[in-house]
């Protein structure tokens, strides 16, 4: 027993054998309470530091926009995973006031976003039916739509007709008719309609397009393009039973059951499958960078792996587009598969003077440009800051570098690699949303207006058609026009 003097005994006892608390017991008993107080102090300080960091991140933009940022009342229509990503990005954009959140999954998505926004001081109301929201919230000026694809047309058109500007997630619609009606509604109402191909506002993509390709023409004649989005197998999305949406609501909004509601991207008539979800981002870039729309498409795809009962669209798609660019013909390959995530996602543009490897990711393939050995020197562009100095290959890779193999003289020498010196430190969707809200305030033009989104939808939706018909399909130039253009 410790404490020879007996002071450490749990409690002194009376002769009746009962314990009594003495002063020492109380003091010892409370002796560690200050530690909790210290924790509380440290916790508060830590949070203050975090908040200061968050404020500092927004401050330059706020300062830049100070004075002339008109507050815009916003609603979110569709508060699922993508809606939450957009909300997070929007919270970093100055001058937005959230007014309403509409989602049929009240117990989960809607509540989560509403609670988050309230925590940040937005007075938001939750709605299940978008029509009720439009009726009751006349102050809303702009609606951000992140509902499943098959709802986009109805939602976007109704919002524009109610006088709201619309930011609508891609794919613009799951049908060309829907997409066309959206373009027409935007023209009729004169409202802004930005489609969520967010790479169009990404500073790195803009730098590559405007500076490296158009101004410096570093790639020379682009003849081939290659790109992919490979994703590892992922379990179907589920939902805790206690949060399930009542069947009547699901049926009313076009879903067979909770599983279909959560996994709509895989169902025909609701989404477009991986080629539309993933491919449309990158195929949009093909057309943008090549400066033209494709003339033909050949595609092969199938449901090779996933359970056909819960997956209707193709889990594996390989596509070849033909282009007639202003510089000459080009071919572009694209693949998406959802059974292996090897190499992730990227786009590669290959010209006779160089190669551009780019992706939206800041971690994997954030932007490299390779100079073909026969191309003119790029030093002037390095000095201008358009590209980085050539990256010296690291010599430590024993397996590849020091293999002792003798290079064949006919083998192409490895091209120099230069980094594209533009990074996006904000969330990926923030610049595109910023562009939209700048346009709402009359200070910018949309980077991806409805017409551009429509062209992209024409190119992408045709892939599924080509797979079904198993033939090479042709595009006519007028296919990319809605009609009635000025």
């Amino acid at each position: 027993m410790a404490g020879e003097d007996g002071k450490d005994k749990v409690a002194p006892r009376t002769t009746e054998g009962q314990r009594k608390l003495d002063r020492r017991d109380v003091l010892m008993g409370l002796s560690t309470v200050p530690a909790l107080g210290l924790f509380g102090y440290a916790w508060r300080k830590q949070n203050q530091v975090k908040q200061a960091a968050a404020r500092a991140a927004v401050a330059p933009r706020e300062a830049a926009a100070a004075g002339d940022v008109r507050e815009v009342n916003v609603a979110l229509l569709g508060a699922g995973a993508q809606g939450q990503v957009l909300t997070e990005a929007m919270q970093r954009i100055p001058g937005l006031r959230f007014r309403a959140v509409c989602d049929i999954w009240t117990e989960y998505n809607q509540r989560r976003v509403v609670n988050t926004l309230k925590r940040y001081g937005h007075e938001v109301n939750g709605y299940v039916d978008y029509r009720e929201m439009l009726d009751k919230e006349p102050a809303i000026e702009a609606v951000v739509i992140a509902t499943p694809d098959f709802w986009h047309a109805e939602h976007a058109i109704a919002c524009m007709k109610a006088g709201k500007h619309v930011y609508c997630e891609k794919e613009m619609s799951n049908t060309l008719e829907g997409a066309r009606n959206m373009v027409l509604a935007a023209r009729e109402t004169g409202k802004l309609l930005q489609i969520g191909h967010q790479r169009r506002s990404n500073p790195r993509y803009i730098h590559c397009h405007d500076k490296l390709l158009k101004e410096a023409n570093l790639l020379g004649r682009i003849v081939t393009v290659n790109g992919q989005w490979n994703r590892a197998v992922a379990a179907d999305l589920g939902a805790p039973d206690r949060y399930a949406i009542p069947q009547a609501t699901l049926t009313q909004f076009g879903f067979k059951d909770m599983h279909q509601f959560r996994n709509w991207r895989w169902y025909k008539g609701l989404g477009g499958g991986p080629i539309v979800d993933l491919g449309s981002h990158q195929i949009d870039i093909y057309s943008w960078f090549l400066g033209s729309n494709p003339t033909h498409v050949t595609a092969s795809g199938g449901l090779l792996y996933h359970d056909p009962k819960t997956h209707e669209w193709y889990d594996t798609v390989m596509v070849i587009y033909d282009y007639m660019t202003p510089a000459g013909p080009a071919k572009a390959y694209y693949q998406t598969q959802t059974t292996n995530g090897s190499q992730g996602y990227f786009e590669t543009f290959m010209g006779d003077q160089g190669t551009l490897l780019i992706s939206e990711s800041e971690l994997n393939n954030p932007g490299s440009i390779y100079r073909d050995p026969n191309a003119p020197a790029w030093d002037a562009w390095i000095q201008k800051g358009y590209i980085g100095a050539p990256v010296i290959p690291e010599a430590k890779d024993e397996e590849e570098g020091a293999s002792g193999a003798i290079a064949d003289v006919r083998e192409s020498a490895a091209p120099d690699r230069h980094k594209v010196p533009v990074a996006l430190t904000d969330p990926y969707h923030q610049p595109h949303l910023q562009n939209f809200f700048d346009a709402v305030r009359g200070k910018a033009r949309l980077n991806c207006p409805a017409e551009v989104g429509y062209e992209s939808a024409v190119a992408v939706l045709k892939v599924n058609e080509a797979i079904e018909s198993n033939t090479r399909l042709a595009f006519r130039p007028e296919d990319f026009k809605v009609g009635g253009e000025a």
Binding site: M1, A2, G17, Q18, L21, M28, G29, T32, T116
Partner: protein, 168 residues
Amino acid sequence: MMAETRASHWAMVGITVMRVLVGWHFLYEGLAKLTADSWSAAGFMKQSRGPFAGFFRWLASDPTMLAYSDTITMWGLSIVGACLILGLFTRLASLGGIGFLMLFYLCNPPFIGYFYTIPSEGSYLIVNKNLVELAALVVIFATGSGTFAGIDRIVHGLWVRKPRLARA
């Protein structure tokens, strides 16, 4: 009675300091998860390896079970942490903490022949920090340090009034 297993006065002071530190760590781990925008144990459990990998992956893949796991982890860690700092229900809190750490340990055990990319800040062979913290909680449990310095001492004095013979 605690006293039989209790160490010397300064040893008990040391164990109490250790208890507060472990509690601090638990409390912050819990509160950080509670206040994060969307924390979930799914990522951690999906990476599970070793003999119990099947169990953890099942937990992560079933939305209902995952929701329970997340809630229990967030609140459990916070409550265990606060109790350890205060020395309140110390033995129960120690057991709870041991349970959590056992689960964390078994989810990604640093067994021979396993190579992890997480955690990234150290090198471990069989013993990792989870196991060390678990061992610390075993000591705290065994010595019942809350009745030495902690609210348990007051609780004991107030509520545990079993007649006993006073020791000489």
